[in-house]
């Protein structure tokens, strides 16, 4: 462990400031913590005590931060008991939160980040978008969902049509980041197909020089990440992916959350909580 990691993770009691429900049992939760809001980088997550009756915490990515007001937002979907209990917590309740945790995504000298988020893998992509909005980057985000998107989408100002994809996430539009949506469902203005198909459409629209400037960032279900990694390979693009695994401690103590990683010394089992959650796609797929 390097010395810089010392004391980097805070244990905070965070008050719930807002808690909105969206279709498909998706929720956006706003929590108060100046320390976490200020210290977070895209791709990091928090480990939350959802209720006193469960023995373990739940890991959830940080979607966006408001450093002025000291708050941060999470987007989660109810998939089991823990997330169900979280969904019942009310504004004003206090949750014990550990964070920010993990290495996060690394912005590189590639100026065209291609952000691909599927389902509840969208949050870290939104976090990168937020970080790059004021920097010298030209990000393009592709968000995929099989349930209605957890935001009211709108027509993109630039009117560009990527094979039927014309609508975007309002927040990203406000940040000046181009974004399109994909789904296998019939949603108006949304690309019908996989996020990777829409990514190909986007990449094909770039010049060779522009394409050389692309770095792929992705978070989502495992099959999606596998497809994204092979797309990146096909176009010969660098690719960072954020992974998930059951976690106990989330601070590197238990080796419970590992993934097999190819290294120069051979296979290594790396901890997703502190060695990740972001890995080089070429090392894990």
């Amino acid at each position: 462990m390097n010395k810089a990691s010392r004391h980097s993770i805070k244990v905070c009691d965070c008050q719930i400031l807002a808690h909105y429900q969206f279709e498909g049992e998706q929720y956006i939760l706003t929590l108060a913590s100046d320390m976490i809001a200020k210290a977070t980088k895209p791709g990091q997550f928090v480990h939350i005590t959802v209720s006193n009756s469960l023995a373990m915490r739940r890991p959830i990515s940080i979607m966006s931060v408001d450093t002025e007001n000291g708050t941060f937002d999470l987007l989660y979907k109810v998939v089991g008991e823990g997330t169900r209990q979280l969904s019942q917590r009310k504004v004003g309740d206090v949750l014990s939160v550990i964070g920010p945790i993990g290495n996060g995504f690394e912005l590189t000298d590639k100026k065209r980040p291609l952000l691909i988020g599927g389902g509840v893998g969208m949050p870290p992509m939104i976090a990168i978008a937020q970080q790059t909005k004021d920097l010298d980057y030209q990000s393009f985000a592709i968000l995929g969902s099989e349930v209605p998107f957890p935001f009211a989408n709108k027509l993109a100002d630039n009117n560009k049509d990527y094979q039927g994809a014309t609508r975007t996430m309002p927040e990203l539009e406000d940040w000046g980041i181009e974004c399109r949506l994909a789904s296998l469902q019939d949603f108006k203005g949304v690309f019908k197909g996989f996020v990777t198909d829409l990514a190909s459409v986007y990449l094909e629209g770039l010049t060779t020089d522009e394409r050389m400037q692309v770095e792929v960032y992705a978070c989502g279900p495992h099959p999606m990440l596998v497809a994204v990694a092979s797309l990146a390979k096909e176009y010969n693009l660098p690719c960072q992916v954020s992974l998930e695994e059951n976690m106990a401690c989330a601070v590197g103590g238990c080796a419970g959350c590992v993934v097999e990683v190819k290294t120069d010394q051979g296979i290594a089992m790396k901890r997703i909580c502190v060695d990740g959650p972001v890995f080089d796609a070429y090392q894990v797929f």
Partner: protein
């Protein structure tokens, strides 16, 4: 740190009766990522279980939540004895606390070999893990056979002058007998208990959730079992002045005090950290408060003070007349 928490264990001076348990705090430094956490708040830290050669460990999932606890099957992922001695031990801050290495072998000789290698280091003590439920060869196979346990402790005893703590498995019929054999073989201390074997099944796929199919159950779910085992082992160990690290589901100061009353000289904290990384402060404070409230000068005055109920009915009911 509260003064009345200072205690002696197997010849080591500890700041606090709290021992952080093997497998829960990596190789000693991981929890210092947490702001407010310090190894100086605990008496000793047991490092992750190690083997002679490096091990990659088991396939995921390695952990899963169960009612009031969790199952783990890490499979002793570790870089091997050589790397631990050369790369990890030199980096530990030995001013803050005492460090205990936790060793596993696939043969009696391997246990002996690892003990010998650590004899030359500045590690404070060696914990012999004869109770790991998560590896195919070795581990609990040694712990469930009192004669094998004896041989493992005996060879380690021959190979080191460091304090030896033997970690007993609850997955056996007579833990007190096993403790007696380990004492006969020369162990200085006992750790009671390791995890209980358990399973969890995903009803959608009909597969065990844990990659290794089964694993070790820890956390509050096992506390009553652990407490009884400590009590049973203490009945043997007290005659030899062999101290116990009581462990299994301790989450609060009150839990810790129960273990001390049952016979534990020190208390292990493992799974509780996952829920509350700063739990040691609270447990230290609670034990210290209890000692002063009860006019006790230190933890040693509380060890094994259990006042058993008289289990024989004494009133004359006349039924048998």
């Amino acid at each position: 740190m509260h003064n009345n928490l200072k205690t002696q264990f197997c010849g080591l001076s500890l700041n606090s009766p709290i021992v952080l348990l093997s497998g829960c705090v990596g190789f000693g430094e991981e929890y210092t990522r947490i702001d407010g956490f310090s190894n100086a708040d605990v008496g000793a830290v047991c490092l992750k279980g190690i083997t002679l050669e490096p091990r990659l460990g088991n396939i995921p999932h390695r952990v899963c939540e169960t009612p009031s606890g969790m199952i783990n099957a890490i499979g002793l992922q570790n870089p091997g004895t050589h790397a631990v001695i050369n790369n990890i031990l030199p980096k530990l801050d030995k001013v803050e606390t005492r460090f205990i290495i936790n060793i596993s072998g696939s043969s009696i000789e391997e246990y002996g070999e690892i003990a010998k290698r650590f004899d030359d280091t500045d590690i404070d003590a060696i914990e012999i893990n004869i109770s790991c439920p998560n590896v195919k060869e070795g581990g609990v196979a040694f712990g469930n056979d009192p004669d094998m346990s004896y041989q493992v402790v005996e060879i380690c005893r021959k190979n080191t002058v460091k304090p030896i703590i033997t970690k007993l498995s609850p997955n056996q019929t007579n833990i007190a007998f096993s403790a007696q054999r380990c004492i006969d073989a020369g162990t200085d201390g006992l750790a009671v208990i390791n995890t209980l074997m358990g399973m969890a099944i995903d009803t959608k796929t009909k597969k065990p959730i844990i990659g290794n199919n089964q694993g070790g159950l820890s956390g509050p779910a096992i506390k009553p079992i652990a407490l009884l085992k400590v009590h049973q082992v203490y009945q043997v160990s007290k005659h030899h002045n062999v101290p116990i690290i009581g462990q299994g589901g301790i989450t609060t100061a009150n839990d810790a005090i129960e273990f001390i009353i049952a016979g534990a000289a020190t208390v292990g904290i493992g799974t509780a950290l996952f829920y509350d990384p700063l739990v040691c402060h609270k447990i230290n404070k609670g034990i210290s408060q209890y000692l002063s409230d009860n006019n006790l000068g230190g933890v040693d005055e509380l060890v094994g003070t259990l006042a058993l109920n008289s289990t024989v009915l004494t009133c004359d009911t006349g039924i048998n007349k």
